[in-house]
Symmetry: C2
Subunit: 376 residues, 2 copies
């Protein structure tokens, strides 16, 4: 198989880069004496999961949808954290996944309403559930403040239901995406650690057994200095990295494992653009990389071998068209219609979500196809 | 079935609104004496296609991927325009679709390189191909200027290959998305019409038979005054509409046929937000509506019955979380955890692309599931 045998657009995954990234983060976790529970919301692939966890199917993983939970449970993963606050209508399916596959599925909430609904459901159905309570460490997305009264209320609702095991606390420092300064990110890791450890201590003081103290985002794990009191870290995009992470200094250009293979389908000389068959669906409309890489557009452009074509990026997209601005007309000869190009994604999680599978490259040649699970 | 029986997030389609939108555009085409060749890049669904075309499976349709072409060909659609400039690596699959299903698949290009590759392929494989030449009417995306020398060159390459039928010309006035003034949009329709008709006349003068003169975007079709010389119009998002089209005045609020059903999963009182389980993947990261509806965010919020909750929109998303800013704390009581909400998408084509199927509503109740085709 060669790249020329693939139909475009498709999603390329450089296996060596991915494995190197995974090792780096497993080493970070090891150095801090914590467990890495990789967030598979980025990869959503069994074949990737087996290569980025420590102990294959026995390894702890994190997911963002019940579709992922079901897919990984079906592949034998036994310790899965569904890290998005549970909606009541997902309880039946969550229980079905646990029972059908014998999977330990940990659920998350930050409120007494859901805790009460879960307790009633568990009692009514005669099933056991495990929960972590989500803590807001400054991200201001989900979670309870570590010093809030509600934290103890939620713990009490969960803790007094004999069918529910309150396992601990988790948090996510999304605010780490506001800076590219390693020292500032390390300070945010400390903010994240302090918040979740404080919440764990309050729960322990109130008589709850807390065995899981979980935090993580790729930047805060990458630059962590001290993880005392933490039992596990979650990061996901580290397995592939992307331009967003590159712009933040969390990875090097050679760590970028994911790219979209596209074909040149036209030249618009009046507009000064080369047109490719990868548009807003193939690349995603995520523009996060532009915060720190203002020229990234919808992605930097590389040749078919993955070498950056300096100065070229996808400057505009419609549904199935991508427009690459070219600084001079010589590019029309360098990139004739039919040329293969690779586009480096801004945000791997969003770009990958459009594809059912990865074309896995070894030494630049497609050697395998690894499937993904999408949707909910 | 009730909405409460659905797992969130999922994609709701109001059948009556869709059918009314489809009738409106079929009537527009009829009034102008042209064929409506709906662009199914928005709906990507056989069940939708059968309800928005004139004559069901015999009806002409437009698609944006070969995956769509294959899916609709398999359902019996015989006249399909693949309206994105062809890449050479797609020729084998395009031919396979034509031969396997006996489908008339019209291909598009704007350059001699692809035309020569297609001619060589058609001769080499002993297969027949049909082409339209793409014209740039001012969109500056794809296509040749109608007065360009290249237009005649491409036509000559296609026209002299006995295996290729040059059927005509097509264009798309993407520039219509730059304004919300109906008179200005009508002026752009005239720009679109003039360009594609001029190209057709030049081809005819050069001895080519031109039976297809095709234009279209939803706004330019909606506000067209004169379509003389045009044989068909292509619009796609008109079957569902979205906030982007609403902001442009192309539809009314009651025409919005698509919404995302989501659950409230938490309240972040410190941040002043209600959290839902529909984030950037469920809603898409498309922000196009904000051009003319600056408060749209990632979508306006409605109650479960589809009634707008004035003042509420999704102000931020991460992968699986959506944040709704609430103007006062009374909303926490109005929207307890577990409440169902609907979010109106910014851009229907992008939001729908995350889902494998529509939950089809009749009188507000889910009555059917219609599948979609995604990917390439």
């Amino acid at each position: 198989m060669t790249l020329e045998s693939l139909e475009t657009p498709c999603l390329l995954l450089d296996r060596a880069a991915m494995e190197s990234n995974a090792r780096r983060f497993l080493d970070i976790a090891k150095r801090h004496g914590v467990t890495l529970r990789p967030h598979l919301k980025t990869a959503k692939s069994i074949e990737v999961a087996r290569r980025v966890t420590d102990t294959e199917a026995g390894a702890p993983i994190t997911v963002s949808t019940l579709a992922e939970a079901e897919y990984f449970a079906g592949a034998g993963f036994k310790d899965i954290l569904y890290a998005v606050g549970l909606a009541p209508n997902k309880l039946p399916r969550a229980v079905r996944i646990m029972l059908e596959y014998g999977t330990g599925l940990k659920l998350v909430t930050d409120n007494a309403t859901l805790a009460e609904a879960a307790a009633a459901y568990a009692e009514g159905e005669g099933v056991d559930l495990e929960f972590l309570i989500e803590i807001d460490c400054g991200d201001r997305r989900a979670g309870l403040p570590p010093d809030s009264e509600e934290l103890l209320t939620v713990a009490q609702v969960l803790g007094t239901c004999p069918r529910i095991g309150l396992r601990g606390v988790m948090t996510h420092a999304g605010q780490s995406y506001g800076t590219r300064d390693p020292e500032e990110i390390a300070r945010i890791t400390e903010e994240e650690r302090t918040a979740v450890v404080r919440a764990a201590e309050r729960l322990r003081a109130a008589g709850h057994a807390v065995d899981t103290v979980s935090l993580g985002s790729t930047p805060t794990v990458a630059f962590a200095k001290d993880l005392s009191g933490v039992t596990e870290v979650r990061s996901g995009v580290h397995v592939f990295f992307d331009l967003d992470q590159l712009g933040r200094g969390v990875c090097r250009p050679e760590d970028l494992a994911l790219s979209v293979l596209a074909s040149v389908i036209g030249h618009n000389r009046a507009a000064g653009t080369v047109l490719i068959d990868a548009g807003g669906l193939a690349l995603s409309k995520d523009l996060s990389a532009s915060t720190f890489l203002p020229d990234a557009g919808y992605g930097y452009v590389c040749d078919a071998d993955g070498k950056r074509l300096e100065g070229l990026s996808v400057v505009g997209v419609s549904q199935e068209h991508g427009r690459i601005a070219v600084p001079d007309p010589a590019w029309y000869d360098r990139l004739p219609v039919g040329s293969l190009l690779r586009v480096l994604p801004n945000h791997a999680c969003f770009t990958a979500a459009a594809y059912p599978a990865y074309q896995v490259l070894e030494d630049g040649e497609p050697k395998a196809v690894w499937t993904r699970v999408n949707g909910w």
